[in-house]
Symmetry: C2
Subunit: 368 residues, 2 copies
């Protein structure tokens, strides 16, 4: 059975819709996963083994083409306005006792307006699709791996710039341009280039005109987007000779990241991945400088389930694609982060990135 039909079948089983129940999906990533539709405006009504995509005139032709390419079976219904979508939902759900809806995706305003239109009662059903989407199939893993490869190659093309006096913005521009030239649909998220004692100490720094100088630590967090699927990778560098403290921090982060990756296998609770990273940093006396979560799932959304932190009880399963990304940050000194994207396999995990983890900035090497 084609994967799109399998996905729909899993959905039908999960929500277990009898003739008197329907389900309304409003999360666009869920809709893409089920139907292939990549536009910015649609609702999907799931009605007893049938799927109906409601979208506006801009997207009708595109929706039909994408659904066909996805080998999905979905009827497309054109709705010119939000009110028309509400009315179409009522028509399709008449006679249902309840309509399950995604309460983390629908605004309070739209909930009230939709409920006013419907003769059935809206009932929250949130996490079902996110759960289904966690286990990636071979095609999805291939797309994510392609996205990783593009970011790896782009970084390889641009890393020599770091020692040439460029700015954070310029490195970001070249990385994103390189990813596009390598076939990416775009960056997977806002590329981070964070340099020096202040900026690299900010985990989510936005690139600036700051010039990258000798002695700076530089964090580069970059991913590519391919057919809706994301990659996510971080490497850290020191421009020029490393101080002993920089070397100590870098080695601690690298060892912590390796310990995290080594802990990734089916059956493990994700909090154990977090603990594996923290143990190494704690032994180095640096855990207090690790101020964010250890990782997250990646797929049609850059941050998706499972979220890897000390309190999440999710269990890793084959097909999970997650980041492992410990980092250390201290304002006035700088920061380091190392991140790989891994796919959980039958017995362990496989790293999808290929970028080396050497923190020195290589000079430009011309291919001969």
């Amino acid at each position: 059975m084609h994967s799109s039909l399998m996905r729909a079948q899993k959905l039908f089983e999960l929500v277990d819709l009898g003739p008197s129940q329907t389900c309304l999906i409003t999360d666009l990533s869920d809709i893409r996963w089920l139907t292939g539709f990549s536009g910015s405006h649609a609702w999907l009504v799931v009605h007893h083994q049938e799927l109906f995509l409601l979208t506006d005139g801009r997207y009708v032709e595109q929706a039909r083409a994408e659904i066909e390419a996805h080998c999905a079976v979905v009827e497309v219904i054109e709705c010119r306005t939000l009110a028309a979508m509400q009315k179409a939902t009522e028509t399709l759900t008449q006679g249902s006792a309840t309509v399950q809806f995604q309460d983390s995706q629908l605004t309070y305003q739209n909930f009230l307006a939709l409920q006013a239109e419907l003769s059935s009662t809206l009932m929250p059903c949130d996490s079902s699709i996110k759960f289904l989407r966690r286990q990636k199939d071979d095609k999805e893993i291939q797309l994510i791996e392609s996205a990783c490869l593009i970011a790896d190659h782009a970084l390889q093309q641009c890393v020599h710039l770091l020692s040439t006096g460029v700015t954070e913005n310029e490195v970001r521009d070249e990385l994103e341009y390189a990813m596009r030239r390598l076939g990416a649909d775009g960056p997977s998220y806002d590329t981070i280039v964070a340099s020096g004692p202040t900026n690299s100490a900010r985990p989510h720094h936005h690139p600036t005109g700051t010039k990258i100088e000798n002695g700076h630590t530089v964090i580069i967090d970059v991913g590519a987007l391919v057919a809706g699927y994301h990659s996510d990778m971080t490497r850290s560098f020191v421009v020029g000779p490393m101080s002993s403290e920089q070397a100590e921090w870098y080695e601690a982060v690298r060892a912590a990241q390796q310990a995290g990756v080594e802990a990734c296998r089916p059956g493990v609770q994700v909090s154990e991945i977090d603990a594996a990273c923290r143990r190494v940093l704690s032994q180095a006396g640096l855990e207090q400088y690790f101020t964010h979560g250890t990782g997250h799932g990646v797929g049609l959304v850059i941050h998706e389930e499972p979220f890897i932190n000390s309190s999440c009880q999710a269990i890793l399963q084959p097909g999970d694609v997650v980041t492992v990304e410990p980092g250390l940050y201290r304002g006035g000194f700088g920061g380091f982060r190392v991140e790989d994207l891994v796919v959980i396999t039958e017995h362990g995990c496989r790293i999808l990135n290929t970028s080396p983890k050497d923190p020195t900035c290589p000079p430009l090497q011309l291919t001969t």
Copy 2:
């Protein structure tokens, strides 16, 4: 008074909060407009002439720096989790009879969780900030104009590519790279490059590997992002000699767009802008091929109020920044769209774009 304080004052006046009322703002663009904070996670509690920004550890330092640069007066409160944000909101709103909230920004799930935490009653108050944000001040208009200028220059640098056998993707890549090199923080939205009888007939086409060929119509819809402010512009081209039908369609769109711009002045209902465009297309017997709205406001959000269509009753006022963008589309033939961004002035409007409206593709001209 500095504009940020004026904005806060306008908000206090608008929501008219006595000591027993508070307001929770969750729209990130509204928060940026009021405080300067540009991060991806925050709530703003407005409490009787005081502002409190709740955000997580990633953003505390950045929030304080941006608030200071914005000359705003806002206390930053660190909240590690969503639950902590809910608790902080309860602490700050205790004793309020009601807490006004943005019902088009809060999900149903978050509404229920927040209401469960609060001793006060949540009351929808949606459109107030959007209304305040419509009238741009001089600084905002300057930023939007800078963003327009960048897109104009990027298009000027890239338009010669159209007759060189490149693909839609390649033109998009070069445009976005050029905008970055010219100082943009990024593209203002997904750049559209739509060529030929099929793709250019799709108003929201996503660029592909389609090669741009002789005889193709090409629509380029491109904008830049500068300090959070967007620009938005469309030009249409024909590669090689124009057919008489292409020339007829292009002239109709261009005349319709000019009529729309000429109708832009204070006191005019936006539906009249739409009508002005449609009259020209109707006289040319082509109105049936104009399948989308005529325009929209642009600012911290690429599509914001007022929305220019046949049913919107908003009245243009000085400081409104809106697009005027009629287009014609017919599958198998192609499409044309011409779009300018204009700012409403005291007596009329001023076009913020400078790109010429010549549909022929100029060859590469080297500056001497």
